[in-house]
């Protein structure tokens, strides 16, 4: 079984400042890792994913994340945020074997970008 921990429930940040949203996971098997964003009254939109290869992955809207296997982390970063980045961000994992394909989500981090 997998579990995901997002330690920060809310992250306030000023516009144009950098931000890092933390995600740690636990799993007994290899996993794929995902970040989803949820804007108000909308569904979950894929930001980026890590499957294999380079540990630094780039996603949409200028976001990137780095997979760190030794620390079982997959933190999301953006060098300069915009007001429009205000949303809820969810880290999720899925076992990479042929078994369970369901996503396990973290509890989410609300990013609040202030002018």
């Amino acid at each position: 079984a997998q579990s995901v921990t997002q330690l920060d429930s809310q992250v306030p940040v000023f516009e144009e400042a950098p931000v890092e949203l933390r995600c740690n996971y636990s799993s007994s098997v290899s996993v794929y890792l995902f970040w989803y964003v949820q804007y108000p009254n909308q569904g979950l939109q894929l930001l980026l994913k890590y499957l294999s290869g380079s540990t630094l992955v780039k996603g949409i809207n200028g976001f990137e994340a780095e997979f760190n296997k030794s620390q079982t982390s997959f933190h999301l970063r953006k060098p300069s945020v915009h007001i429009s980045d205000t949303a809820e961000y969810f880290c999720a994992v899925r076992a990479s074997d042929t078994g369970r394909r369901a996503l396990t989500f973290g509890s989410g981090t609300r990013l609040q970008v202030q002018p």
Binding site: G43, T98, L103
Partner: protein, 115 residues
Amino acid sequence: EPEVTQTPSHQVTQMGQEVILRCVPISNHLYFYWYRQILGQKVEFLVSFYNNEISEKSEIFDDQFSVERPDGSNFTLKIRSTKLEDSAMYFCASRDRGPQGQPQHFGDGTRLSIL
């Protein structure tokens, strides 16, 4: 870009009634999922569906729940004899075939309110 669509966006139902939540997955996708998010809690996996049968379900998905793909486009979640604790946002997702790691695409959700 193709989208997963869910109807209705908000459903209000009396406790004990049956409710059907509807989803139209992306047309060439083969794997379908339901998740739910109780207010203030994590997004939780309910069930996955492939090749006209349930491929995986969580402990939440008990006899009260059922899924169906009644035609080539719709994917439904039925909740019989609804309870107050069924109030949540329900998300449908679909995934394409192909290499493992294909991401799941989510709809905007149906907010279910049980009175």
